[in-house]
Amino acid sequence: MKRGRSSSDLDLPQNGNSEDERRGQDPEPVAGHTDSQNDINDEDESSHRRDIRSRYRMLISTVQQNREDMLNVRGNKITEVLDEANTLFKEVHQAREAALDSQLLVVASDLGKEKASQLFSEGLSFDPSTFVQHTLSFMGLNWLEDEGNNSEDEAATSNGILPQNAWHILASRCGLCFQSTPAFHYMYGTFHAEPPTPKLRVERQRKAPTKEAKRIMPTQLKKMEESHQEATEKEVERILGYLQHYHAQDPTSPISYYEFVINPRSFSRTVENIFHTSFLFRDGLARMYLDEDKLPCIGPVEDSAAEEPSSRKQCVIGISHWSWRVLRDAFEITESMIHPPKSRTK
């Protein structure tokens, strides 16, 4: 309120006092509802206050909406508004109306500030509307369309027809005021600076084969596992066949374990033989024992003695490429006793 009008400054202390008094006596709700006593006076009072508030709001909105007019017009519109506010303020008794009054004051003083700045600038003042008019005619605005209301400057300016290249005309002239650099371009053009948006179609194509591959994979695996197991079982049975065959040929002489499993031409075949033979021991179809020279021997188990769970023993056989060669030379093995399966491709 400090910056306000002189007359309202004079009014203010009185009003402030009376407001305080009223507040002390009568705790009437600020919102202006009728009191519980239903006093007719109070009702009159609240409608009166409502009226004051609406008139204040009207004033504020006229100031805000006609801002440009108020600044341009030589008349005293601001003064008129302030005068009206002054008369209104005489009837203001409570905080709510006073708040609206101060709000109007803020808006009005803002306007005043702008008016003052116009005053300060020496020389010719710059009028945006005139500027727009001149610029538009420079840009080649066609006035023919609205000859009638040509004089009403502000309305007319937005009604004419601008040529297609209006802004180019203006730009080429005022480019002379700019000391800007010419744009740099690659001779053969350039990629867009932004990364291209990923195309959906590509992703769809990619998705389809992965699905199919997923479906194939499990079936393939199953097959492999089955065949592998079958192959092991078959191989174990085949070796048992060999063992029984050699035993039947000469039941009295023991079969040397190493001579039995070692394949002189293939280390990996040897390892496979050892692996498969171990199944025979596990299932109790073959037994291993040491002969007089403490060399391991192997022989099939007779059907009658096959089931003897208490006699279960374990031993680990290790073989390396080097020991395979030593054993092969020591036993002078030239032929393998277990012939590799003919049909196997591995």
């Binding site: 801002r67 440009e68 700045s117 600038s121 020496e122 020389g123 010719l124 710059f126 945006p128 509307s129 005139t130 500027f131 727009v132 001149h134 610029t135 538009l136 420079f138 840009m139 502000e154 300016t157 937005s158 601008l162 802004w167 180019h168 005309i169 203006l170 730009a171 080429s172 002239r173 005022c174 480019g175 002379l176 005021c177 700019f178 000391q179 800007s180 650099t181 010419p182 744009a183 740099f184 371009h185 600076a193």
Partner: protein
């Protein structure tokens, strides 16, 4: 080589970027020597070329270049010799391209390129293809002639009278509001700042740092005089300011930083 690299990296991780910037502002001669002695001239030249290209590409969109950006994207482990490479680039811009590197913000070290050569009348290449220049001219003139700072409402009202409505899509400018308050602001042609104590929030426009160095106020004033068919000197206040700008840029031709 490896030793130099690793020490540079270590120092980068230790120092804050801004802190680093301030240290680099005035590199002592010993620092420069220390940085350069292990680099060959070819290496420096190559980096300089990269920096020149970086500036040119950035300038395509009229975006300013920050020093931190240069260090991060171009120089990397060569950051110790920033000044040396920058000087080289500056020299090339002036001698080869006829452009000038101007530091528009000495605090944050922001650089732009401007044309060293004055635009010549009849030269249609300059900006004639870009209608945005016209729009920019209207706004900048308005701001300048109305005392340097104006509420955004005045800008929008004026543009509306020129059939450019910020609320609608314009056939030439597209989203006008975005162009004016975002693109022009990022290019540093305009400043768009909140007016304090406004509810709802209002903004005001003023000249950006690029506009201050790139645009001649005197030329704007002369053009406005042409438009209004009157002597530009009659806008005495603005004329005084314009001649002030012209003499300021004349007195220090190499580094005309406005703020």
């Amino acid at each position: 080589m490896t030793h130099r690299k690793s020490s540079a990296k270590r120092s980068a991780s230790v120092m804050e970027e801004d802190d680093d910037d301030s240290r680099l502002t005035q590199p002592s001669t010993s620092q420069v020597q220390k940085g350069t002695e292990k680099l060959t001239k070819a290496q420096i030249d190559e980096k300089t070329t990269e920096l020149v290209q970086y500036f040119l590409v950035k300038d395509q969109k009229k975006l300013p270049v920050r020093r931190a950006e240069i260090v991060k994207n171009v120089l990397k482990e060569y950051k110790n010799v920033f000044q040396e490479i920058m000087n080289g680039a500056q020299q090339r811009f002036e001698q080869v391209f006829g452009l000038k590197v101007v530091e528009i913000d000495a605090k944050n070290h922001v650089y732009i390129l401007i044309n060293k050569l004055e635009p010549v009348e009849g030269d249609q290449r300059i900006n004639s293809s870009n209608p945005k220049t016209g729009l920019l001219f209207v706004i900048l003139s308005l701001v300048y002639m109305k005392g340097g700072v104006i509420p955004e409402g005045l800008v929008w009202n004026t543009l509306k009278k020129m059939q450019v409505d910020p609320g609608e899509k314009h056939q030439e400018f597209g989203d006008v509001k975005k162009l004016v308050t975002d693109e022009f602001v990022r290019q540093r042609y305009l400043e768009y700042t909140k007016i304090p104590h406004t509810e709802p929030v209002k903004y005001e426009f003023s000249w950006g740092q690029r506009a201050e160095v790139e645009i001649s106020k005197l030329k704007i004033l002369k053009f406005l005089g042409e438009l209004h068919n009157q002597d530009p000197q009659r806008w005495s206040q603005q004329y005084k300011e314009a001649t002030g700008q012209a003499s300021a840029s004349m007195s220090q031709p190499s580094t005309s930083t406005q703020r």
